[in-house]
């Protein structure tokens, strides 16, 4: 029993002396202290329950974290903390970038100035440049005016170039975000072929060449036609179909509204044109539903999607093709075909016709 106690006490003494040694090695005014204070703040953050107090403590946590990390990278006489670019032997000064990222994250977490991730991404290079300018303009020691413009013209030139480069990086990020916005406005573009582009590359392979919106629209148009025909006697059905040209503008508007909602969920809705023609034929009447994409696309002039429907009077079918109960007709639609060279629909809806020549 006393041996166990002895072992325990020596172990404890060992730990204690080691901790002391480590603690003695830490300078009071150093980045380690700042990081530990930050750690302490985060521990307090976990303990505290009141949300307002939590926010207040988190402010300290972020502040000391940013200070400590920046200090860590600044406290680097032999450039050991700067990774070298392989092959070129250029030291990368990553410190300001990391500090800038931390500042952006902190602002983002408080929803202060930066409210969403894309904005934070755009702000990041500029904030990092701001960190460097802050370091250069800070006066050593405690003075009534803590900042000064650097005396050395070379330093000033470097700072200007740095700021402009950071602004250019921000512009590139912003451009990427703008492209994403465009794809949100015109989701059907996402399936297209970008190989010719001088600006963009795809990050993931395209899922399908046929615009998703187009498929949905054609299926909806078919459903719309079925609804219109529902409950009509056969002669009326035929009359309606022969007169389908007159119904087209209304049919188009209703279909687009049904797919894209009112107001339209995506701006691409204005780039679709619906066309249909009807052919009295034997043994089946043929209804062709065509959808034109007149928006931006890798094929000059756009696409046509087509759906061919065969219509005949109910009851004339050979047994096996069960007609829809209670309807005077039966309609059978074939799968959508596409990627034909596009032409403009002959009956161009006038109110939308001027967007593309």
């Amino acid at each position: 029993m006393p041996q166990i106690t002895k072992i325990f006490t020596t172990a404890w003494q060992n730990i204690w002396t080691r901790t002391q040694a480590v603690a003695a090695g830490v300078k009071v005014f150093s980045w380690q202290t700042a990081l530990m204070l930050s750690l302490l703040a985060w521990v307090v953050y976990l303990i505290v329950i009141d949300p307002n107090l939590k926010q207040f403590v988190a402010l300290y946590g972020w502040g000391f974290l940013i200070l400590g990390v920046d200090w860590f990278f600044l406290d680097d006489k032999e450039d050991k903390k700067k990774p070298t670019l392989p092959g070129l032997n250029i030291k990368l000064n990553i410190g300001p970038w990391i500090t800038g990222a931390l500042i952006c994250l902190a602002l983002l977490s408080y929803r202060f100035l930066l409210t969403d991730f894309p904005t934070a991404l755009v702000a990041w290079p500029l904030v990092s440049a701001g960190v460097v300018i802050f370091r250069q303009c800070l006066r050593p020691g405690f003075k009534p005016t803590p900042f000064r413009v650097p005396n050395d013209a070379g330093v000033r030139q470097d700072l200007i170039l740095l700021t402009l480069t950071a602004a250019l990086f921000s512009c590139w990020f912003q451009f990427g975000i703008l492209l994403e916005n465009i794809l949100d406005r015109y989701p059907s573009l996402a399936g297209d072929d970008f190989r010719n582009s001088a600006f963009v590359v795809r990050t993931s392979p395209a899922t399908s060449r046929v615009p998703v919106g187009g498929t949905t629209l054609l299926n909806t148009a078919e459903a719309q036609v079925r609804e219109e025909l529902s409950g009509r006697p056969w002669l009326d059905v035929q009359r309606w179909l022969r007169d389908i040209e007159a119904q087209l503008p209304r049919l188009e508007r209703q279909t687009i509204d049904r797919v894209y909602g009112i107001p339209a969920r995506a701006e691409e809705s204005q780039f679709w044109r619906l066309d249909a023609d009807f052919e009295d034929a034997l043994p089946n009447d043929i209804l062709r539903l065509r959808l034109f994409w007149v928006g931006p696309s890798s094929q000059a002039g756009g696409y046509i999607l087509e759906k061919v429907c065969l219509i005949q009077r109910a009851g004339l079918t050979p047994p096996g093709d069960a007609p829809v109960l209670g309807e005077s007709y039966q309609m059978e639609c074939q799968p959508i075909t596409s990627n034909l060279p596009a032409e403009q629909p002959e009956t161009e809806p006038t109110e939308r016709g001027r967007i593309i020549e």
Binding site: L164, L168, E180, I182, N196, S197, V200, P296
Partner: protein, 215 residues
């Protein structure tokens, strides 16, 4: 998380064009300014000047581009939709309509003169920023030196009297500083701008020709 498209090609092209423009403009600035005795620019300085004004120009150009989209989204009209469609066709698919080509040519003219203005203004601002503290120091030194010979008083009281040698240079410099000293710099920037635009245009034509040959 990862976006569908990344503008990596645009970034590569822009980096290439910037490097070319900076190289060309630095050389032109150095030569044109060296021809003028008063403006002495070291090679290092000329590269820094060229880099600064080209980066400034690029950033301002991007801002104008984003401004167009901001306006187009805030106040949509038939015109903005058409321009946006053309731009999307151009950016994503490299598709040129006749309209795009025409407006690009017009835009290039505007861009040339706009970039000249921006570069000239930028270079002026840069030089004054860089010289802000230094000139004062030099003047102070000069003033101290002339104090010893007690000539500064005479010069300031009666400028018509023959000043000292260093004073003569300074008077010359001061006289020419306001309207005429801008001229050699403006000329240099104009030539530099013209040369870099030509270089970039040549590369774009080259790319266009290669594309045509490939198909």
């Amino acid at each position: 998380m990862l976006p569908t498209v990344l503008p990596l090609r645009a970034i590569a092209f822009q980096a290439l064009f910037l490097l070319i423009a900076i190289a060309v403009e630095a050389a032109v600035l150095r030569r044109t300014l060296a021809a003028d005795k008063k403006e002495f620019v070291t090679p290092n300085q000329s590269i820094q000047y060229a880099a600064t004004i080209n980066l400034l120009c690029t950033v301002v150009g991007w801002l104008a581009f984003f401004l167009f989209f901001a306006v187009a989204y805030a106040l949509p009209s038939a015109w903005t939709t058409r321009v946006e469609t053309n731009l999307v066709n151009f950016i994503f698919f490299d598709q040129w309509s006749n309209e795009t080509a025409t407006s690009l040519i017009v835009a290039c003219f505007i861009m040339f003169f706009a970039s000249f203005t921006i570069k000239q203004a930028g270079l002026n601002a840069l030089r004054s920023t860089l010289q802000a503290g230094i000139e004062k120091k030099e003047e102070k030194k000069e003033a101290e030196a002339s104090d010893e010979t007690s000539e500064s008083v005479i010069r300031e009281v009666s400028p018509s009297r023959r000043p000292s040698r260093s004073g003569a240079i300074r008077v010359l410099r001061n006289e020419s500083s306001a309207p005429q000293a801008m001229k050699p710099q403006a000329r240099a920037v104009f030539y530099a701008n013209a040369w870099s635009f030509s270089a970039i245009l040549a590369i774009l034509m080259f790319r266009f020709a290669i594309q045509r040959l490939a198909f």
